[in-house]
Symmetry: C2
Subunit: 193 residues, 2 copies
DNA sequence: CATATGCATTAACATAGGTTAAGGAATGAA
DNA sequence: TTCATTCCTTAACCTATGTTAATGCATATG
């Protein structure tokens, strides 16, 4: 993606002035990931924000050998370890490419340093966080109030085509069930759809 | 709580200049709630932000007659329907006092209108949201990776004394289990502590 | 090519937690 | 005081989902 298109697309979220963009643009670097590569591993410190432009990334936490998928990132989203950046502490989450990925990364601290001279960037961050908050709340309500079958069907609508591109056990983990149980659900759905 | 103390206490979160405070202070109004009163009900529109100074409030979603407690607010927290304010749509959540409560409320739109002349207030909002994000993520990880017994014990540490002041079924709902099962857990814990 | 590895499915079995129901303490209203 | 209501607990039962294990495919590797 070229810089001008990116500016236009980010302006949809919140206005970034040309002057701010000129400086912000200097911070941007492309990143590529192969399938199964990790962007960030649990326990690492991170200093970058990322924007996904191609591919799919999962974020998960792990405990006692089990992994719990929290979200999938698709292009246009920010697979960024925000909590680690804010608290300046090791990341509790891991970010892994499930497909080959293209990203744009930039230094969190340099970005933040631009706030002093470009207020619009601070406003931009606030808008992004607000959007994430709304999305997260909606998702939480959905996950708690529905059963696994319903959430599976919602997943298929929210991420069209994704279920055929990534292992099913990642979907099961996202739904909070075992792969075996997801398999039972799928069998049930094909019998009487 | 008098205004000066409040200013000092909010300054702990992020600096609010005296000029900004002078204007912001004009927006503040006290609110009292009796036990079981609702601050906001599902389906309502809301136009205010709230700061809790005394008491406990639960936020919950309901579906098909069931209620799911999402969080408890204790003094110092902001029991505010942020998603409803941001999306300008009816609230998906309900906020209810579990104990007699004292709050301070202020108009969300008037607050936001102050951003133009007082940048520090926008920065303040960003800080609050960042803090909420960190807290929520930590809580989510905890709830998913632990079982109900562990989460019950964490609840008791996080909200000291609260379990004796509110009905147990609210705690059970918060933990994602039935009151009957919570009762079993409690019996189990008293047998061998 | 042969073998190994990862993944989905299915079946048999085990169990945590839900459901229903009943009884008793505590609280509040008449 | 008595009666009603709310809430906690316990027991008996039941169901959804996890666990273990075996099978078969597909893909990757030597």
């Amino acid at each position: 993606m070229d810089a001008q298109k990116l500016h236009i697309s980010l302006n949809q979220i919140s206005l970034i002035t040309d002057e701010a963009w000129e400086e912000f643009e200097q911070l941007l670097e492309p990143v590529s990931l192969d399938r199964n590569d990790h962007l960030i591993r649990v326990g690492e410190r991170t200093h970058f924000c990322y924007l996904l432009t191609e591919g799919v990334i999962r974020v998960y936490y792990s405990k006692e050998g089990n992994e719990y998928n929290k979200t999938f990132f698709v292009p246009g989203m920010f697979p960024t370890a925000l909590t680690s950046l804010l608290t300046e502490s090791p990341c509790q989450l891991s970010f892994q490419a499930l497909l080959p990925c293209q990203l744009i990364k930039f230094s969190y601290h340099r970005f933040r340093n631009l706030f002093a001279s470009h207020r619009c960037l601070e406003t931009f961050l606030l808008r992004v966080l607000e959007g994430e908050w709304v999305k997260k709340e909606k998702h939480d309500i959905q996950m708690v109030t529905n059963d696994a079958i319903t959430n599976y069907m919602i997943f298929r609508e929210a991420y069209p085509g994704l279920e055929n591109k990534i292992p099913q056990h990642h979907i099961a983990s996202y739904l909070g069930i075992t792969p075996i149980h997801l398999s039972r659900i799928r069998a049930q759905l094909t019998k009487k759809p």
